[in-house]
Symmetry: C2
Subunit: 218 residues, 2 copies
Amino acid sequence: MLSYTEENYLKTIYHLSEGGQKSVLTNEIAASLLTKAATVTDMIKKLSQKEFITYEKYYGVNVTKKGKTHALSIVRKHRLWETFLVEKLNFMWDEVHDVAEQLEHIQSPLLIEKLDEFLGYPTADPHGHPIPDKHGKIKQEKQIVLKDAIIDKALTVCAVRNGSSSFLQYLSKIGVSIGVSLIVKERIEFDGSLEVSIQNKKPQLISREAAENILVKE
Amino acid sequence: MLSYTEENYLKTIYHLSEGGQKSVLTNEIAASLLTKAATVTDMIKKLSQKEFITYEKYYGVNVTKKGKTHALSIVRKHRLWETFLVEKLNFMWDEVHDVAEQLEHIQSPLLIEKLDEFLGYPTADPHGHPIPDKHGKIKQEKQIVLKDAIIDKALTVCAVRNGSSSFLQYLSKIGVSIGVSLIVKERIEFDGSLEVSIQNKKPQLISREAAENILVKE
DNA sequence: ATAAAAGTTTAGATTAATCTAAAAAATATT
DNA sequence: AATATTTTTTAGATTAATCTAAACTTTTAT
């Protein structure tokens, strides 16, 4: 059984290790959790002692099979709760993160089973992130970063990379949400911004920064 | 802001102080929380320092106005979550307590507002206990302990005093749940057990012990 | 009314999570 | 390659929550 704090460390390490296969460094974890490197060193000793991660002094951390399983169950809970908050309680998609951070630590397998059923076994949360099933399996569809999308091709928004309120509110303002159709009309060489038609309306400019945080499928 | 642990102490002290107007004693709190008197002493010093309770050495504890307000908000959360679990997620009424003990500590006034709305502003939880409104107001109907009920009078079950699984499962078995109609047909002097007709069916015996834990209204 | 019993508090430790400052190791620079 | 810089770890403290054992109050019983 992991404490609330240990779960937060494990989840953070798991997210930092996603994608890349390099070890996760002490300072990256400290930065993510807004804590100090010394604290992180203590915690990773504890987590490696419990075999959720492996740890080589000065070289960083890797998540074990056991650790990944546990991390995925936390991610599953987080995303199911976010879905509940938006679909059932009418939260805005930028209001759910902090509450889900708390709810993800509730210990009750039965609760999660029943919540999943109540929500109709969703496969993605309100930000388009995949929800692992109860065995930890993720149904991942091929996603393209909007920045790299081909010109004049019909696209559908399937996820956002950044869950910050300011970004999500900006997206809402320009009419971008999960499932919306986009067509990139032009790429501005100078600053990497894009002219994009949203739901077939007249094209508008989206900055490179924003386009790096929007994921689409064909 | 109270910690998870402080909230549990405050809630327990509040419940122990309900009904009686006597001070709550250290050992009662320790027994309720399955902890030691020395630990309780430390904690009540902290809570009285924060003015949620008043405390006179060796004579026990009383909940302040501020403490009552906070305790009621925890009780409100607990009972709203229990209602959610039973009404929306199809939990059995004997399965909800432990999960609600965790959920009651989630910090988000918006969440509770929205949950309350989603549930249709319920005034009682699945065990018949009143749910304080957002101002801490409790809609209390006059309740009678079944043991003391008048013979041959039509009654409706409105609450149970004891939330243990074993008791709730027993009640389910004999067909007693909130809202069910009862008529006490006879009181056995010897052991205080009652002959009760449940939903107008043929009377059956209910022990004094059980009858002390069932609340009814006329 | 005094002694015994029961209940409560204090003192001193322990564990988890955190911090700062100093030491050690790895990486980058000249 | 030697030195400087950055990163990480270790050492030593601190706070919250808990415990046991000893000391102190209050209550009960003789």
